[in-house]
Amino acid sequence: MLLHYLDLSWRSFKRTPLVSMLMVLAIAIGIGVTMTSLSVYHMMSSDPIPHKSSQLYNVQLQTMDEGHTWWTGDDIPMQLTYQDAVNLHNAPIPNKKVAMMRTGFSVYLDSDKVKPFTGEARMTTPDFFNMFDVSFIYGGVWSEQQEQSAAPVVVISKELNDKLFAGENSIGKLVYLDDDSYQIVGVIADWPLNLKYYDLNNGAFDKVADLFLPFSLIKAKELTSWGNSNGWKHENIYSYADKMQSEIVWIQFWAQLDNPEQKANYNNYLNSYIQEQKKRGRFTREKPEYSLLDVNQWMQYNNVVSEDNKILVGLSFMFLAVCLANILGLLLAKFLRRAPEVGVRRALGASKRQVFLQHLVEVAMLGFIGGLLGIVLAQIGLLGVRQSYEYYKNIASMDLVMLLSAPVIAITTCIVAGLYPAWLVCKTNPAIYLKSQ
């Protein structure tokens, strides 16, 4: 029966090509506009690590004295001081935790084959790779012992390995970073991350780092952060050692808490940590304040989806509503003109339900064609977005979910538009039309 209805729909489409094309065009434009903004929104807001996002927590501590404010919603600084990060990392719980910072080096080899260039680096404790699901092509992460001793070792990205060693296994080879040599212990596989969720402070949609090195090298090499360093207190900082002991926040910290029990334990631990630090004259607020936000909460807290994008999504759906009203008008015209034919069908025994269904199938078909055309338009729109804003290169694209939702939204819109006209036409009284013929 469905096939028969589809056949009828196609005939009807061909009979009034202009009106049909107008309807398809209306729905396609509506879908094109909506999908363009919705795709960007979807890629920005989708969970970057779905199976683990509720176990990974960003840790924030309220280190500021009473009365100081931050630009975050809850006034808590987004990063930690160096001393807090080290203390929390040395804590017995949880099992997996990571302290890290963004920096960069001049990268070159012993030979003259590669011209020195700048590489972005992440100084991190070794749990990083396991916690954020990073896999290796060659080698692996440095050992706990190497972390403790600030060993000159490095894990590099696949891209960098391709550039320096033509993609060969480079484990054990040396690479120069600034004026020291480092031994390569691992090469990570491609890590196609749309959103650099583990470090939203420094360009959420930037690509991941080229180099990963032990966190302990920060102190050993006196490295400076390439990200935000923020102070709230007046401190005299004349040396690197002063900075390590200061209240400047510049280190990011994540903890993996697998279940509510672990989370409760960690809450207790953080409370007691703050109490302990109080005795040393830090954390002067009466009430200890800290915050544990999981990946999705952290993304919201950092306003990853821009205001502009939310506005655009809202406006595009209103746009779709205008298209819907447009289609409804055209459908009404088209279906009512067909009343005599429907009258004959009804007289020959078609039930109201059958007539109704037949017309719904017809609008669904229009929706489907419109949806497909809409995807094409959305691709053009997204191409425009990418051209206009390099930074959205990875974000302005449609994934499978979006590709499938386009026709679904299109068909739903068309069926909503088609309900009233189809209902009107199935109410047709056959007698009137039979009389006049």
């Binding site: 506009v33 080096f105 001049s106 700048t118 939310k310 205008v322 008008g329 930074y391």
Partner: protein, 402 residues
């Protein structure tokens, strides 16, 4: 004669079509007026005056990895080489680059920290006496640094600088009476005497809460990471930019020169998201107005084909062509009028909603009025074609089939 009453009765007989049109016009008005307001806001942001001859300025980064040089001596060699290049007006090392989106800012106060006093967020550039000329910014009062006021050092602990040149905006915010010249302001507990006041120049962040507050501090720190700014003669920038990497490496090779970018390019990158939003909204409202116009056009055509006989009869009974055209224009104006009233209300509500949830100012009524006029004119244009066609229906049609 406008014949409103019969037209209204006729409309009542085909309510659905009219209501659909009305909804379209209302939503269109709501979207277009709010979008136009946002677009206007972005255009003003994108076209603002920065105070720099962006086309003639470019910057680059230097990352030094060799340890066999003295960083501040190397700085002297590098700037001397850059300033001597043909086509270069002036060059300087600058700790922050304007319009680039990255730099340093701190609170500048009337009293030394930790004493409480009026304190204002300020972006600061560590730069030498060539800085102002390199940026192409004029002094409006006082004087520039002299060469021996500039501290050049490899160590970050020296704190002997005691003068600063600030923008007028900063001086006036700290000294509202406008007598900032010669006064002392504090960067932390470091006292700085204001020796010069400059014409407006923007800091590193156009979207900062205080984008116009800039202080120049005569201090060059020899570091492994440095940024240079170069101003060239008009039209010679590209040539200098192409050469600069090799020239710098010729001066000293154990370093990386990168991020060679024009100031206009940096600004473009910084404002790219706003430009994108503006473009998307322009595309959105253009298509929207076209879709709505097509809707009106289509519905009028449909109505005419439905009423061919009535029109023919009216013509046969003596109605002029102009009466027929008037009929459709008035009919459209009635629908459009009601749609616009609803649309204005919807626009206000939508504006309020946007203001509540986002950082958008309240929608000025002029935008709604402007949009309403445009939509009204557009709807009349969309109706006029079909109405003329209706007027040309021959009276004989009416007599033929009845």
């Amino acid at each position: 004669m406008l014949e409103i009453k019969p037209i209204f009765h006729a409309l009542c007989r085909s309510k659905v079509g009219a209501i659909l049109l009305l909804i379209q016009i209302a939503i269109t008005t709501a979207i277009v007026s709010n979008a136009a307001f946002i677009i206007q806001d972005r255009i003003a942001f994108l076209n603002q005056e920065t105070g720099y001859p962006e086309q003639d300025l470019f910057k680059f980064n230097v990352m030094t990895f060799g340890k066999d040089i003295d960083a501040s001596q190397q700085f002297e060699l590098d700037v001397a080489m850059l300033r001597a290049l043909p086509g270069v007006v002036n060059a300087a090392q600058s700790s922050s680059i304007p319009l680039s989106g990255s730099g340093s800012a701190s609170s500048f106060s009337l009293k030394p920290a930790p004493q409480e006093s009026l304190s204002v967020r300020t972006a600061y550039f560590h730069i030498d006496e060539h800085g102002l000329d390199t940026y192409g910014v004029k002094l409006i009062a006082g004087r520039n640094f002299s060469e021996d006021e500039v501290l050049i050092s490899n160590s970050p602990t020296d704190r002997t600088t005691n003068v600063t040149v600030v923008t007028e905006a900063l001086a006036n915010e700290l000294f509202p009476k406008g007598d900032g010249l010669g006064k002392t302001i504090y960067f932390g507990d470091l006292p700085l005497t204001v020796i010069g006041i400059t014409a407006p120049m923007k800091g590193p962040w156009l979207k900062d809460s205080h984008p116009n507050n800039v202080a120049l501090i005569p201090y060059i720190q020899g570091k492994t990471y440095a940024q240079f700014v170069v101003r060239t003669k008009p039209d010679q920038r590209d040539a200098v930019m192409k050469e600069v990497e090799n020239l710098m490496l010729k001066n000293y090779s154990k370093r990386v020169i990168n991020n060679i970018k024009g100031l206009d390019e940096l600004k473009d990158e910084y404002v790219a998201a706003d430009k994108l939003m503006m473009r998307m909204l322009i595309v959105l409202i253009t298509i929207l107005v076209l879709v709505t116009a097509l809707g009106i056009f289509g519905l009028t055509l449909f109505n005419i084909s439905k009423r061919t006989k009535q029109i023919g009869t009216r013509r046969a009974l003596g109605a002029r062509k102009s009466a027929i055209i008037n009929y459709f224009l008035v009919e459209n104006a009635m629908i459009c009028g009601v749609g616009l009233i609803l649309g204005c209300i919807a626009a206000l509500l939508l504006g309020q909603l946007l203001m509540q949830h986002f950082s958008i100012a309240s929608l000025p009524p002029s935008y709604i009025a402007g949009t309403a006029i445009i939509v009204f004119v557009m709807s009349l244009l969309a109706v006029f074609g079909p109405a003329q066609r209706a007027a040309n229906i021959s009276p004989s049609i009416a007599t033929r089939t009845i």
